[in-house]
Subunit: 381 residues, 4 copies
């Protein structure tokens, strides 16, 4: 019976223990089991708004220590990576403190409430040379990577058209209440979930350069809180439709919609080329549809995720066994640990998240101006 020599420890400091905090904690627990990581992430400190919340969260999520003082967490020597799942408005001060402490920063999307804020964060991180990562987890799906490979390989020819969408229904009822999501600072459907399809569009086709848009508030007011009779005006969009032109010349449309009754996760795209096409929906996240060929036997092929689609093989050696949402976060964390140890770039980083945010703001601006807006993003790829 031998004691096992452990890998070097990387201390994780997690801020926030809500849905995303738990998702992070699970990823930090699972990633070292599933991936052959160069070091062992250890759940060191959890910070939350109060001591009680922090201790309850730390106990539930397997952290060693708890605190209500996120600045103490950041400066603690036991912590190497700062994972930020706090409200969006706090992302900038937290990230700035972590950067100042020369720590790796892993921040949930959106990077911040405005592009200006995100730009400050990006520039500070780059000046300090710290590793950054932003939680656009849907990009981690091996099927998205497969789509990218197919596009890059030329299999579907010159890309001609794009049709992207992120539609859910969590605000479809006029009685869904206000929350951070409807905060005029950084809220709205296009910022909240439109950012996901924008990040995928950029990953697959490069930067968007021109937009026309229609950001629409469907319900003029909503309850101030769950079941409240008091209603307050809504200042953000529930449903945004946009026309997009990529820098490459590809044209298409993009929708961000949190009032799409019947849709729980239609984060989807169809990309057509002169010789073929790829299509995907997060509703069937373990499949990619690929069209190529011609003649009597041409057709859309449904490719199921399997061990040939790295890093699916880390989760299961047999095809058809399905990755789930939380697994995407595990992949994200495994990449983060690799980048932290090698001090290399982790994509999407702050700069990429800034470019997404700039795209969101261009869409919002185009909608206000009722005209096309041409813009360039901080990363032109």
């Amino acid at each position: 019976m031998a004691d096992v020599k452990r890998k070097d420890r990387i201390g994780i400091g997690l801020i926030g223990s809500g849905f995303m905090g738990r998702c992070h904690a699970n990823a930090f627990a699972a990633a070292p089991v599933l991936f052959d990581l160069p070091a062992m992430p250890v759940r060191a400190i959890l910070a939350d708004a109060t001591e009680e919340a922090a201790e309850a969260g730390a106990r539930a999520l397997g952290f060693e220590r708890a605190t209500a003082d996120w600045e103490a967490l950041i400066s603690d020597d036991a912590v190497d990576i700062i994972a930020i799942t706090a409200p969006n408005v706090l992302h900038e001060p937290m990230a700035m403190a972590a950067i100042a402490a020369r720590k790796t920063v892993y921040c949930e999307k959106p990077l911040s409430i405005t592009a200006a804020s995100a730009r400050r964060m990006t520039e500070a991180a780059e000046a300090a040379g710290v590793v950054t990562s932003v939680g656009f987890n849907f990009l981690r799906n091996p099927m998205i990577r497969l789509a990218k490979d197919i596009i890059t390989s030329g299999e579907i020819g010159e890309i001609t058209g794009f049709r992207g969408r992120h539609a859910e229904n969590y605000m479809a009822s006029p009685d869904a209440p206000h929350s951070f999501r409807t905060d005029p600072l950084g809220g709205g459907a296009v910022a909240d979930i439109g950012s996901h399809i924008i990040s995928i569009a950029r990953y697959l086709l490069g930067p968007i350069a021109e937009v026309s848009a229609d950001c629409r508030t469907i319900y003029p007011d909503r309850p101030v809180s769950h079941r409240s009779a008091e209603r307050r005006a809504v200042e953000v969009d529930d449903m945004t439709h946009a026309l997009v032109r990529f820098a490459s010349g590809v044209s298409g449309s993009l929708e961000a919609n949190w009032a799409a009754t019947g849709r729980t996760m239609d984060l989807s795209f169809e990309i057509s080329g002169s010789k073929g096409a790829v299509a995907f929906s997060q509703e069937h996240m373990n499949e990619l549809l690929v069209f190529s060929g011609s003649g009597a036997s041409a057709g859309y092929k449904r490719i199921e995720a399997g061990p040939l689609h790295t890093p699916y093989d880390r989760f299961c050696p047999a095809p058809g066994h399905h990755l789930g949402f939380n697994d995407l976060k595990v992949i994200e964390v495994a990449d983060l640990i690799e980048s932290h140890v090698s001090n290399g770039q982790c994509m999407p980083d702050f700069r990429e998240a800034l470019a997404v945010q700039e795209t969101v703001e261009a869409i919002q601006e185009a909608s206000k101006a009722r005209t096309w807006v041409r813009f360039s993003t901080s990363r032109s790829m």
Copy 2:
């Protein structure tokens, strides 16, 4: 053994014997067998560009007489209904002659090459009081009618969003040659097939009042004819994406695309409301997807066409037996015969087709102007 007393005869004069001509002839043959029509359509005269083509066409399509003189066809006493499947540029003179002869006019879409021309035809037809019908056959699908019933019933609540598309791939290759489809007069994807999704959008949600659009020519030139080495510039759109606002306030997007590699007939829509949604694609034309309800058992329901969805029952008494494309034309012709006999309105008529064309032109204008265009159509419903 008794001779059977025939119903009154309605003489059909068909101009054109191409794809659509054959489709019309088939519908005139099948409709009286499947529907209990008030009179019997008889394939009387077929006109085509030459005597030879006309005689061959008439023989193949079961017409009694043939002519290369469409004016003679129109004025012949044996003809009561003029069915026009000739090139678009001829729709106006043919329809005008038929109207002058006080005959029912059944014209393929688009009604004409410009809205101005379509307006002249509409006004002439209304002044003369003749019955008109335009071949937007996809509207005849019982599943589209079911969608309309569901929307009208309030089952899916207040309508909030629209997402419509007609995408095919017949011009997806840069070597697909010029044809009437690429004629600067009335050609292009948004006119050719965009008109179908516009007609459906209007049928389901009423007139579109405002658009922003991006009409794009993907391939700057195409062969002048099949396999020709000579190429000529393309002046029309291959792919159009538009933002739409309906007069009702509903917002959404619309795509017309004949270069959508992998799509043969994605004439589709998703319409969401505060309580539910409906979705449809012509790729599965015998199904309507309907979302309603809430809680643990809510989900999109796949309703298969059956005899409860009139007039499916005219084709088959059992569900699941599928209507096909040509059956839609049979329904269209059955409606036409009913309207002809009762001298009643047949929808979509010339005025409705004009409104579709005005919408097409507003989209084209918005794309040129790079700004939103507000407009009103000739029928505001």
Copy 3:
């Protein structure tokens, strides 16, 4: 204006004007428009149970004359092809009379109520040398032909497994009444619809040689007629599951089920081979799913029906426009006319229908005996 020279006339005598009679009449009307037939079928005489029914039917379905005397119809010189859509128990005497009159016989499935009867009909027809055709219309689908081509080509390797089903729901309610379908002579799910999947299985994989089966009556009694309070015992199966071994050694399962709640037309199969697979369901009758290849981009391909899949092109020159159920009957009638004129074999003929019926009876026998039954059919292909 020229009169059109007609093709030679082929007189059609149709017996029965119910669902299938109408379906036949429509096919005889449409086939000459859509196909380039060597002669023109003319709806000459319709026979039904009474003079009134026959005249009403003939008027509705476009026949020249009507009679309550089917023997007169058969012997009438104006009639060349006898189309039988009468109750199953009458198929034998009608077909025998037609054969005696040396006329082409086009009989609805099942060929007769017992294999013994079907054998008498087959032998008489072959002795007389008349053309025969049996209405297994689902075989006419170009997608089924494509499946056959793919299997024959070796693309999916050596065939290993079969999974077939015909499931509908028209008898799923315990209150669905008795009808000819529940007649102990020739009734039951396996005879009524099992015959369809058997005919497809034979077409694609050759004869079935051994079966074990479970023919089950779900509801012991049913109303004697619609809404009747009187109930009578059911003697036939509602739901049959069978194990099958083909003569080729391929193994699999087969289901015939008219009590499959939720299924309107799941006439489906999946056939696997050492290198690939094909799958089909009549629920999406314009698609064939084909799996071939291996590696990271292997997947089931969804092939949509189009003009490259003969004879789809007779209905439409563009893909994606969908054939419907009635179109299958049009193809069947076009084949019949070709065979009649050339005096050639029309498949499936009486002998093939007999082999299907022998397979049905082997299944029924295996279920009664509770053991495997080995058998051979009248056509071993």
Copy 4:
């Protein structure tokens, strides 16, 4: 900054560090983060065939100690739960030792290589009163639980028919080599994956009481190992089709097939009742299809997994975010920990796994005897 008080520790001893070992380790790491467990599972000792393998496995999977002596692991005081992922032939001695040590036993399926062996294990465990659990993880899917709830509620009426299948393609090639899967002792498709669909069938509809079956070896020999030129005869089935009668009288079919080219995980069923139906495939494991209702708006409803389907909510508070295969194991482990702490029954336990194995053997016996086999299982529910 407060240290966090930990929950009581439960020591885990894992035997085996292959695919399933890793899957277990991941579940033991993730379950305490995602579930509010009554105690904290700690990865104490990992045993594997050699010291090297054990130490490497322990390091990779996060265990404190490693050993090549599984008996030492079982008797170690630091271990409370024995998780067995070793070869099937070792399940009995390992479980017997664990039972003798009065430890909770968590064994991968199949429980053992024969029903006789499984019976010995079951009886020993019950005599000792230890908690047992067997890894039929697909049962843990909330969608399967939803299907059960729907069936139990009566929503789909009296159950009438069953159609079940587990089809994969990992042995579809004649060159897939021998492995433990083809061992005459406990191997073959019906034992390996047929057991999954049998366990689901039993969970949803109760015990199967009678079977007829066709267990078939497609390829008479296979390479003795990967890429070996030497081939050895295959003694087990590649593809089994069976007819089943449940004790309740429900009839149906069942397929187990590891040579189903094109299928990676078609673990699927369709269960019909007098008023509705449910259908599921693991290929879309986050959906359940439910048919109920009648009339023009009846249709199969696609219910997506969400937080209302316990314990999906432990993984994500929003619907549509998908559980994956490994998450099913997390649920299994959470149930195991609960049962261990409460000393309560964990389902499926050894007795249930024994009943599955008895069903497998009845199928094998029926195939050999070429007749129906009536049997009863050790749990008749």
